[in-house]
């Protein structure tokens, strides 16, 4: 038994390293560790070796067998990795080709803006309320302190129905309906369809949406209105926004204001979008008139609060830079599929 295990080890290591693919590696394996392999032969022939040497050589040969097995495994793993890598490389695809989109529909822009608005107000504790689109004179006008035979009524061009009702001209009637049934303190917003009897153009529609907000409590103030509405605009447009209030007149609020916000485009410096004023007119608002509280069955001595009304289509138009309100009601899928 004159095989030099050290040389064998060296030779085997070299051959393992040189085996370029799994098939060659397998052959090398067979040569050393196969049934007729060199090392197998050594191990088999141990018994022919004198006892004195047998133990030592046996130990060395077994260790070498373990060692080579590990070497084979490692090399095999490395070669497999390589094969996978090569295979993968063959599977090149053109990732610039367009993807295949599942067929999904589109929600109307007003639906999307409504949801966003409702989320912001709900986060501030406001309930979402609703009311009928066909109204009577009481809720639409009288209860809101808009007297009959008063020029103030001319502001609300009204569609009348043959059955004595009318199409609500604003969502403010819902404030009265809600206060009749719910005691303050209260915080509500209403977003709904309203109607104006006026000619249609890019910024006027016979039906449109309005958002109305109302907050009533023992000490709800103008300062509170300012903070709440500023917060709303900032969250809605995701940018810092300033609020400005100017005197106005609505029969159902006293004091009344027009609310402007700093221009979205120039931030207040003045640009063509804001007619160089730095401000954009957003809504009418005010402190609820005591007569409205009375008409809703509340004692104005105990309660005060603010209300606002804002064209909702316009809010969506500003958000998406839409220049014609009629697109919302056109049903034109070339428009709707953009949202």
């Amino acid at each position: 038994m004159l095989v030099n295990l050290k040389l064998l080890k060296k030779r085997a290591q070299k051959e393992i390293a040189q085996a370029g693919d799994l098939k060659l590696l397998n052959e090398v394996f067979k040569r050393y560790l196969g049934k007729k392999g060199e090392l197998t032969f050594v191990l088999r022939s141990l018994e022919k070796i004198p006892k004195a040497k047998r133990k030592k050589i046996g130990q060395e040969a077994n260790e070498l067998k373990k060692f080579l097995k590990i070497q084979f495994d490692q090399r095999a793993a490395g070669l497999k990795e390589k094969v996978k890598k090569e295979d993968e490389e063959k599977e090149w695809i053109d990732i610039t080709r367009p993807g295949k989109r599942p067929l999904v529909g589109h929600l109307h822009p007003l639906t999307q803006v409504k949801k966003k608005t409702e989320e912001i107000f709900q986060a501030m504790g406001f309930n979402i309320t609703e009311g009928p689109e066909t109204e009577n004179e009481w809720y639409n006008f009288d209860a809101l302190n808009i007297p009959k035979d008063h020029p103030a009524r001319d502001f609300w061009d009204t569609f009348y129905l043959k059955d004595g009702l009318l199409l609500r001209t604003h969502t403010t009637p819902v404030d009265v309906r809600y206060m009749e049934k719910n005691n303050p303190p209260l915080r509500i917003i209403t977003i709904g369809r309203c109607f104006r009897h006026e000619a249609t153009d890019a910024s006027h529609e016979s039906n449109f949406y309005q958002i109305d907000g109302l907050m009533v409590g023992p000490d709800v103030s103008v300062a509170n209105f300012k903070a709440t509405i500023q917060e709303f605009f900032q969250r809605f447009f995701s940018k810092p926004i300033e609020i400005r209030m100017r005197p106005s007149y609505f029969p159902f609020t006293e004091p009344s204001f027009e609310v402007d916000m700093s221009c979205l485009v120039c931030g207040g410096k003045g640009c063509s979008a804001c007619q160089r004023t730095g401000w954009m007119e957003m809504m009418g608002a005010g402190m609820m008139h005591p007569n409205v509280f009375k008409n809703a069955g509340l004692n104005p001595k105990n309660w005060q609060g603010w209300a606002f009304g804002m064209g909702f289509d316009r809010l969506a138009m500003m958000k998406y830079k839409i220049n014609d309100i009629r697109l919302f009601y056109s049903g034109d899928l070339r428009f709707l599929k953009q949202f």
Binding site: E130, P151, F155, Q304
Partner: protein, 677 residues
């Protein structure tokens, strides 16, 4: 209303520059629409708030407002009439007011020996800047004083007033008047007129009549400065469809105390510019003198409503600048006397607005309210609307919003008795309120079909029907969707998906049995239409639109529609889902093909299968329906995958075969049904 900058400057010496002035007005009083140069003058187009019509439809009013805002001095022109002792007003005219509710005050003066002619340039310029056409010195002065004070005036030719008598009365039926602009109007008992002894000579507060018109020969004039009740003028103006500068001012209400100042200003200017002699005395019918109001202002409330503390000295200063008189001071309140020209101020909140705006809303700091932490209530309508819309969006449907109106053509699809008619439509498109969302959606298809092949759209909106029995309008929300093509089963699948998404399981489809009226209207295809039912309740329809309807909307493809009552759907919807344990035992699949007559409903076969082996079947899937030449005539082949699975044990192959055999036997009890191998 437009204002002359130079004119305002007469009253306020150091008036701010025009653009600065516009800015001040904008922030503290009224919106200024436009500032524009007009010769040597500037024109300010001011949107005077309707509540301020009584005092601010006038140059003096606006000047007073500017003085208050900017803290400037105001100088109102005087009107000292030099009366001629030898002639008396009452010798020229007498005044009788028949209705003191309609005419609150009537002030008259006479000026004789006047010379009618053109006005001087400065006067003409002022009128032109303010948009009025100069006529002659007398008429121009009346207009000028109106623009100056806000009080409409009228000048009659004194010699043309029959009987030297002015009677303020309601017109008689069939009385007529020809106005200064030669228009003829029929009058009635609701229209207040100024009449002489015989006939109406002016429509009170609206327009003068042709008869006593001032002309070149006029020597004596009678000036009228009156206060007519707003409702009287408004009614007459609406009735006659006649709006004038005067009617507009009266409609907004005027201070009755203004008539005197105005008539004296006019007489003063006529003396000056038309060389007349003012007769002695003023005829003044003024039975109920209007006195200044007093309003108690609680200072705590002022602070509480504005949410800002304004020092008392500042409050007083603001009130004084506005010519409001803080009179009595108590520890926490002030009694404020309001001059009669501020007719808009009557409650404490009105004063708070005045203080707030002059103080400046910009000085009020934004403060979040102190409120108790009550989370908002869930609005179920809003919640389910959102869920529904998202499901439909996921199923490839795009959402549309249509008008709430339908036109006469579209109305033919519906029972006229149930339509809600619009009293004053602007166009024929707005004849009725929509009783269904279907016409709107069909129009959408018609408009979009040129651009898109396959269209899937829906709308969730309100419809309106007249409930004749209760005599009221019913308003309810519908959910309606449409898909193009011969897609009944696809849309039925969408309805299933939707209802399952809403937690509704007890769904079935029933044959549609139209009432005779519905048959006449024929929106739906009579065969390809089903009622959608949940439990015993019908919640809507699913079906193809009839060819007749499609043709009338000029639509090229077939359409399938679902039309569901949202209110019912919302009530049935539930968020609750209960987990069903997953069986630990294996499932076995067998196929089953049955040859049945064409008219057999799938549900009949399914019911039979379930009746035999329901508890051991996890799922049955109809994977093919075939009708073709290889099959006997009038037959169709239904092919099912049946998934067998027990909850408590493994079903052996033999057991499954036995069950399947049982099913086959049961099915074949019907002699027309034949199970195929």
């Amino acid at each position: 209303m437009v204002f002359s900058y130079n004119w305002l400057k007469d009253y306020i010496k150091n008036l701010p520059k025009p653009t600065k002035l516009a800015e001040l007005l904008n922030l503290y009083a009224f919106e200024v629409e436009e500032v524009k140069k007009a010769g040597s003058d500037w024109v300010l187009d001011v949107d005077v708030l309707p509540s301020r019509g009584p005092d601010c439809f006038s140059h003096i009013g606006i000047a007073r407002e500017i003085a208050a805002i900017a803290g400037l001095n105001l100088q109102i022109p005087t009107a000292e009439v030099k009366e001629d002792k030898d002639i008396k007003t009452k010798d020229f005219v007498s005044v009788e007011v028949k209705n003191k509710q309609a005419c609150l005050r009537y002030t008259a003066r006479a000026v004789s020996n006047i010379k009618v002619g053109p006005s001087p340039k400065w006067l003409k310029d002022r009128l032109r800047v303010c948009g009025l056409r100069p006529v002659n010195n007398v008429v121009d002065i009346a207009n000028y004083v109106m623009l100056e004070t806000g009080q409409p005036l009228h000048a009659f030719d004194g010699e043309k007033i029959e009987g030297k008598k002015i009677v303020v009365r309601f017109a008689k039926k069939n009385e007529k008047i020809v106005t200064l602009d030669e228009e003829k109007y029929e009058l009635d008992e609701n229209i207040l007129v100024i009449a002489d002894a015989k006939r109406p000579v002016a429509v009170a507060g609206i327009k003068g009549g042709k008869l006593p018109e001032i002309d070149k020969k006029t020597k004596t004039i009678v000036l009228e400065s009156a206060n007519f009740a707003p409702w009287v003028v408004r009614k007459a103006s609406q009735k006659l469809k006649l709006k004038t500068d005067a009617s507009w001012r009266f409609e907004h209400g005027l201070d009755p105390n203004l008539t005197e100042l105005a008539i004296n200003r006019a007489a003063f200017l006529i003396q000056k510019l038309a060389k007349g002699k003012a007769a002695k005395g003023v005829i003044d019918f003024y039975p109920q003198k209007v006195l200044p109001r007093r309003i108690k202002l609680d200072l705590n409330y002022l602070e509480k409503l504005l949410g800002a503390k304004i020092p008392l000295w500042h409050v007083k200063d603001i009130l004084k600048r506005l010519e409001l008189k803080p009179k009595v001071f108590r520890s926490q309140s002030i009694i404020v006397e309001v001059p009669t020209f501020r007719r808009d101020l009557s409650i404490p909140e009105d004063l708070i607005e005045e203080i707030g705006r002059i103080y400046g809303y910009e000085k009020i700091k934004a403060v979040f309210p102190n409120v108790s932490l009550v989370p908002p209530k869930k609005n179920l309508n809003v919640f389910w609307e959102e869920v529904i819309k998202n499901i439909l969006k996921g199923a490839g449907f795009s959402e549309v919003y249509n008008y709430s109106f339908i036109n006469e053509n579209e109305s033919r699809l519906f029972d006229k008795k149930e339509l809600v008619e619009v009293e004053n439509p602007l166009s024929f498109e707005q004849k009725y309120l929509r009783p269904s969302l279907i016409p709107g959606l069909l129009k959408n298809i018609q408009k979009n079909q040129r651009h898109f092949n396959d269209i899937r759209i829906f709308e969730l909106g309100k419809i309106f029907t007249l409930q004749k029995a209760q005599g009221k309008v019913e308003e309810k929300r519908m959910l309606t969707g449409v898909v193009t093509g011969n897609e009944f089963y696809q849309l039925k699948g969408v309805v299933d998906l939707l209802l399952h998404g809403l937690g509704i399981s007890d769904i079935y489809y029933d044959s549609y049995k139209p009432t005779p009226e519905e048959s006449k209207l024929a929106i739906w295809h009579t065969q390809k239409c089903a009622e959608i039912k949940v439990g015993l309740e019908e919640i809507g329809f699913l079906g193809e639109i009839s060819q007749k309807t499609i043709d009338s909307f000029k639509i090229e493809k077939k359409l399938v529609v679902f039309d569901i009552d949202f209110e019912k759907l919302q009530k049935l919807s539930s968020e609750e889902t209960i987990y069903q344990p997953i069986s630990r035992y294996p499932a076995a699949v067998r196929d089953l093909a049955v040859l049945v007559p064409r008219g057999t409903k799938v549900v009949e076969v399914l019911n039979k299968i379930n009746a035999v082996a329901g508890s051991l079947i996890r799922d049955i899937d109809l994977f093919d329906v075939y009708e073709g030449e290889e099959l006997p005539r009038g037959k169709k082949n239904l092919a099912f995958h049946i998934v067998y699975q027990a909850k408590n044990k493994t079903l052996s192959s033999q057991e499954v075969d036995q069950i399947q055999q049982k099913i086959v036997k049961t099915l074949e009890k019907n002699l027309e049904w034949q199970v195929r191998d």
